[in-house]
Amino acid sequence: MTQDIEMKEQQPALSNSLSTTAPSTFQNLKEIAALIEVGAYAREVRRIVRAIRWTIQLRRKLKASVLSAFLNHVLVPGSELQSRLYSHLPKEDEQDMELDTATSATQAPAKHPLPELEVYCCLLVLIFLIDQKRYSEAKACSSASIARLKNLNRRTVDVLASRIYFYYSLSYELTGDLAEIRGNLLALHRTATLRHDELGQETLLNLLLRNYLCYNLYDQAEKLRSKAPRFEAHSNQQFCRYLFYLGKIRTIQLEYTDAKESLLQAARKAPDAALGFRVICNKWAVIVRLLLGEIPERTIFMQKGMEKALRPYFELTNAVRVGDLELFKKVADKFSNTFSSDRTDNLIVRLRHNVIRTGLRNISISYSRISLADVAKKLRLDSPNPIADAESIVAKAIRDGAIDATLDHANGWMVSKETGDIYSTNEPQVAFNSRIAFCLNMHNDAVRALRFPPNSDKEKESAEKRRERQQQEQELAKHIAEDDDDDF
């Protein structure tokens, strides 16, 4: 109990001191180190998670001086780890360093550092290097840290380790060498699975998927994903990433319904701060919906902060909605750079077929009878033999159930059928069923996600009290059964 009160006191102090100068950042780092120690001794992973959250808040305030002072304070001076980490930090601001070392020398005795603290220091230095854009150094630092992590097998280190894996992959990605670490990531994933380190497994699986998808190796990504062990997600961010990668793979494999579900879920679950991620989820979701034949609403493109990025997709949707092939071609050419940088250009090519379908549907609804030559003209198919083309396209559309019509070859026209009353069919039932199922699933998920405070202080029930309780429960059950019988 007292520890919890301490934490609460530290939190308001933290928020106050976040706006002041470097020595307070040092203070905060010390507090975080203390928190990690406590968590390590009590084997409570949640404290470590909280420590990481605070670190991320401090990210912008990290400076070389603060870091060197902190390393001095925490690590055994002269150890191999410390000298390695020191070499990454630039030697500036000699005065500040002296000041901080003076204060720390008076306070802390030399101590044997916990492995968690060592790993935490590696993580701090990594974050600092990446923020400073010194990617090759970050690469070296992260590879060394990973080598060190291989020997540690503690649950409390897992949280820190998964962060290090993430930055490891990030540093390689930013220098363009992702393919090199694929073997390492696979080995790490194996180890994490053996140790039942679920958070590590999740993170590494996502990193591997990202690795494969970066090089367009959808086949291999799918093979890995289908064989990797699945479990309840531990971290919301990792789950969002996983859904996004899954959606991408499914889109390429032409399974648009699954893809749409995954992508929309990823966009919904993502935290508000992750704007870039939500933008790209929405881009892919828009394309998948277009490929499925439905037109996304205008409000999707008008979401805060995403308007400019989604502009090309907005114009694309317009072209598909109208069903005009020439407009579609114009938009595709105009924004071809955006589309190729988003890697969606192959998907846009597939959309051509949808544009034709939508155009056909519009024609079929508006005309009860129209000649095929006119159909070809309206669709603006640029081909040497438009009428024959149009005929086969219409025939295929009829077979696929996109339009309800019949063709008359002798006279060369298309006759549309009357659309019946939809409420007399099963359609509303099916739609309602899917919505009800979704709401019920959401309710079940929410109930399962409830967390209760740990019960360590409750006294054990004595045998008497337990008997009493069981008796009461039995009576209650009998009572309910009798009631039910009465109702019957």
Partner: protein, 266 residues
């Protein structure tokens, strides 16, 4: 030069000679021998060791596999094609940094795409397509396959069949024949639903048969169609309209699941 390499090169020369003569049995025999000889080289995938003759060995192995692929098209063995293509793939992807590009690369990639299309494995078609760079997509062999897929998806089947006349390479012949057959089945399926009836001449034209006789044969395979007075009637295929019955089992299941879930809400 390494005696192993000389041996392989000689065997390969004999293979090429037999190939030109169209002596396919001898070719297959020599090919199996070559494959066994290739296993002695350590620089090939999956080992990729750095031996002094690595580049030479890799180029040689790649040539052999390319010929194997073309051979499998000639003898019309699709499984062999798939196997040989998968063995060839690492040479294009992983070893591409070390070897100069093969002149046959795009041809073989195009053939593979076409094969996937013919076997209706569209998902794999698209996955393969993603792996191709922008330069590859400009190449006529590959462009041909991509445009075919587009026309196939849209339903402009006559374009598919006319593309047959503009083949980039003669090896594409075999696949185009297979494709023609698939297309014909598709067209027949579409016509069933789209037309009430077609005159025999029109049917023959649309299905691209060269004579009435073939049309009659084809119709025999579709018992629901009738020929009357020089017209083909498709109506039979549509007689089986589902009668308006209530799917009671499904409704019961759904309602029960609602009741169960609602009961769980505390």
């Amino acid at each position: 030069m390494d005696p192993k390499i000389t041996e392989v090169s000689q065997a390969f020369e004999r293979f090429k000679a037999a190939f030109v003569r169209n002596d396919f049995d001898k070719c297959s025999e020599l090919l199996s021998q070559l494959k066994v000889l290739l296993t002695k080289f350590k620089s090939l995938p999956p080992l990729f060791e750095e031996t002094p003759n690595a580049i030479h060995e890799l180029t040689l192995a790649r040539d052999i596999y390319e010929h194997a692929v073309v051979l499998s098209v000639k003898i019309e063995d699709l499984d062999a094609f798939e196997r040989d293509f998968f063995q060839l793939k690492p040479y294009y992807t992983d070893a591409c940094g070390r070897l100069p590009q093969s002149p046959q690369e795009y041809l073989i990639l195009g053939l593979n795409l076409l094969r996937l299309l013919v076997q209706n494995r569209i998902a794999e078609f698209h996955t393969e397509l993603e792996l191709l760079s922008a330069i590859a997509l400009e190449n006529p062999c590959i462009k041909h396959a991509v445009e075919l897929e587009q026309s196939f998806m849209e339903g402009a089947y006559n374009r598919v069949l006319s593309a047959r006349k503009t083949l980039p390479h003669e090896t594409y012949d075999y696949f185009m024949d297979l494709l023609a057959k698939t297309v014909r089945d598709e067209i027949a399926g579409c016509n069933e639903k789209a037309y009430d009836s077609l005159s025999v001449n029109d049917a023959q034209q649309i299905l691209l048969f060269s004579s009435d006789q073939e049309l009659v044969e084809y119709i025999k395979e579709h018992p629901e169609w009738e020929i009357k007075n020089g017209f083909v009637y498709f109506k039979q295929a549509r007689e089986s309209e589902p009668c308006k019955e209530i799917p009671s089992l499904q409704l019961i299941n759904q309602t029960l699941s609602y009741a169960r879930e609602l009961e769980r809400i505390v």
